[in-house]
Subunit: 446 residues, 2 copies
């Protein structure tokens, strides 16, 4: 009797999260001898470094999103699945899903990559989320845009001076790159774009505060660059409020605490949150099941090769993972796209190496530099020992961001919008609509 030769079934890789990290894993493995399943709650990749520009109306949602299916439609070994991950059963190597009444409730893996990211945390004050929008998720950025524009609309017709001042005050919480970028863009919006549209509003009526707990903005940058950024911000009408902690936020304003313990109340109807983030709850679930540490930002600690201790078949990366340095500490990695991209690429190589029976050294982060833009033609860049500011830094920032916008069409659209915006001093129009959710029907003035 001739023995039947059965081909071994393909190695099943399940990737959770279509952000920068997860996308990189799938991209790099799409020609490898594996069967890939990419699971996300949303059907698109979001280019988070530019999502804040949706909030300020410089870009429209379709400019910063790209459908996952369009990206991997032509790869025969990639399956995209829209579902919410409820949890894991690491013992039986299963992901537990909520894919609607019709879809499957579990999916099996040989290797699991969890790259579920993070979202803004409100320092334990979940009630602040209601009043202080953020610019990390697409929906919230759209909502921030509507709130800002509605504040201008109210101020235009306001009869009460104090209400008008609160409408014209914008508070950005968090002086990191995102906070700096959004404060600068609000300054430009007020100065160039909206001043001509609203006949009763003068740019000087607009007050923009950038609140930072540390003693300076952009603390990840060299001090000289942070000082330059501060000066650029002030030119755009932004007042950096350093050494201030937010102690309260409600619909009418914020309360700030100074180092001497005194509290200042700032009446403001638009508050934008760009402070701390918290890892996806899936990080905590992984930590619990594997007995791995979870830090106070909710990140699960992984081995130097990004795998979960005791579960070499499970990889966690990006914003939701804290990487052990192999000697009791963890690597100090920023929560940025380049980290997730490099970790995704590493994870893909690790999976390929293992299938070939080869081993790999630990993950190493190559810091290519820090970039932050403040406004048109204004940016700061730190590339190793090189420190740049002004138009040169801004051009680098522009190039890097357009380069990484994955869709070919998105690149074109964003480039043309930005060129147009640059040439016309910010008079990009189409994205400045106040949208209201369907539920609310017709009302644009909430």
């Amino acid at each position: 009797m001739i023995p039947t030769v059965r081909p071994s079934p393909p190695h099943r890789v399940v990737v959770i999260g279509g952000g920068f990290g997860g996308m990189q894993v799938v991209k790099r493995l799409r020609h490898a001898p594996v069967e890939l399943t990419l699971i996300d709650q949303r059907n698109f990749h979001l280019f988070q470094p530019l999502t804040y520009q949706v909030a300020t109306g410089a870009l429209s949602p379709s400019d910063v999103t790209y459908p996952l299916r369009a990206m991997f439609g032509s790869a025969p070994n990639v399956r995209v699945m829209l579902a919410e991950v409820r949890g894991f059963d690491l013992g039986s190597r299963q992901v537990l899903l909520d894919a609607g009444s019709d879809g499957p409730s579990t999916i099996e893996y040989d290797t699991l990559v969890v790259a579920a990211g993070s979202s803004y945390a409100y320092f334990g004050h979940e009630e602040w989320r209601e009043v202080a929008g953020e610019v990390k998720s697409l929906e919230s950025a759209v909502s921030v845009r509507s709130r800002m524009l509605s504040a201008f609309e109210r101020a235009e017709v306001a009869t009460d001076r104090r209400n008008r001042e609160a409408d014209m005050t914008f508070v950005v919480v968090g002086g990191g790159p995102t906070g700096v970028e959004i404060a600068g863009q609000i300054g430009e919006l007020a100065r160039d774009t909206l001043a001509s549209d609203f006949k009763n509003i003068h740019p000087d009526d607009v007050r923009i505060l950038l609140v930072e707990t540390a003693e300076r903005v952009l603390s990840a940058f060299a001090e000289s660059l942070a000082t330059k950024a501060s000066r650029s911000l002030e030119k755009l009408g932004v007042t950096p409020k350093v050494n201030r902690t937010v102690v309260d936020i409600d619909a009418d304003g914020v309360s700030l605490k100074a180092p001497d313990g005194s509290t200042e109340r700032v009446p403001a109807r638009t508050v934008i949150w760009a402070a701390g983030v918290r890892a996806s709850s899936l990080a905590g679930q992984l930590g619990e099941q594997a007995g791995a540490d979870v830090d106070k930002a909710g990140r699960v600690t992984v081995e130097p090769d990004l795998t979960l201790a005791g579960h070499p078949e499970v990889i966690a990366l990006g914003d939701m993972a804290s990487v052990s340095d192999g000697s009791g500490g963890t690597l100090a990695l920023p929560g940025l796209a380049p980290v997730a991209i490099q970790q995704g690429a590493y994870a893909a190589r690790l999976i390929e190496h293992r299938l070939q029976g080869r081993s790999m050294g630990p993950f190493r982060y190559l810091n290519k530099g820090n970039l932050a833009t403040i406004g048109r033609g204004r940016a700061v860049a730190e590339l190793g020992p090189i420190r740049l500011s002004g138009p040169v830094a801004w051009t680098i920032w522009l190039g890097v961001h357009i380069w990484y916008l994955i869709g070919f069409q998105n690149r074109l659209v964003v480039m043309s919008r930005w060129s147009f915006s640059f040439l016309s001093r910010g008079r990009t129009q189409g994205s400045r609509i106040i949208s209201s959710p369907v539920e609310e029907g017709r009302g644009a003035l909430e």
Copy 2:
């Protein structure tokens, strides 16, 4: 004593509605010696003839909208106001507003132009609105897009055959130009665009029904053109269901009644409404206060010069007005942008003539033709005695629509999107995102 010469205060024109009609009035009067106030609930003009393309993901919301302030920001005699109009006091010449807690509650006029448009009516079945989306308002078009794409996502992973069939069945109610256009675009979406993205879906799995009460689609067109349109639709996988009346719609399907009285149940999870419209309730209020007729579509009857009987200072136009022919009947005008545009231009001339003490003849509609597109390269056009179909008609349709997209930037963006889409056979990607309202948080699979 020398008498003081006081300049007479400028004539105050209040325009309600920033659609095609109202916009035209403001545009034409922006250099006239009048003080203009444009009131709208939304801060943008919506290019309604293309809003359905947002539902099919061919365009993004910012492509079909243009901020009203951006349009009239440079005109010194134009004031834009975001407010909801609650009603009128024709006696004291006041508009009653709901402009938020801070804004004014009334505004006075010398001449009032009401151009508040219409919205879809569900034949008295308001409960159908919940399950059958429409493509006239921006929010609803975005919601229809999310529903359609979610149906494909569910079908991709579905385990139950019958549920899968309901997910793959799309019913469009109303065989006028909008219904034909949207059915055709769903056909293209299924055939060209999505077939490659969804590995478990074959284009032939998708069923698209176009339901029409009359005995043929496009009843406003010549029969030969309607027949050609039907054939084009069938090539795209659309089945016209003529002589059928919708008697029920719920979340799982529709019930259709045939002329012989028999009823057919069609399981379908996506129903799109493109049937009857109803005038803004402001039309009814005008009719009530002036004692003018209001027809069963809710439109107020106006004099041959578009003014309200007994109130020559009040003009109503567009979808919300029915124009008296001066001999007991009314003009049979379609609810299309060209009618509103021509009426807006007429109203502006009427106001200018009156200020100069001149009189004017009645409004006359110049029918420049009928256009409907079915898909890429497929359209029908009726220009007076000339009947066209195929690529020539489509090119005309394209030109007319791009020409009328008012924003310079919008024109460029739409043109580049369409060129890209045409060359790549519908693989325009950026607008194919499933958006969920902020309230719902993260869930994309409702």
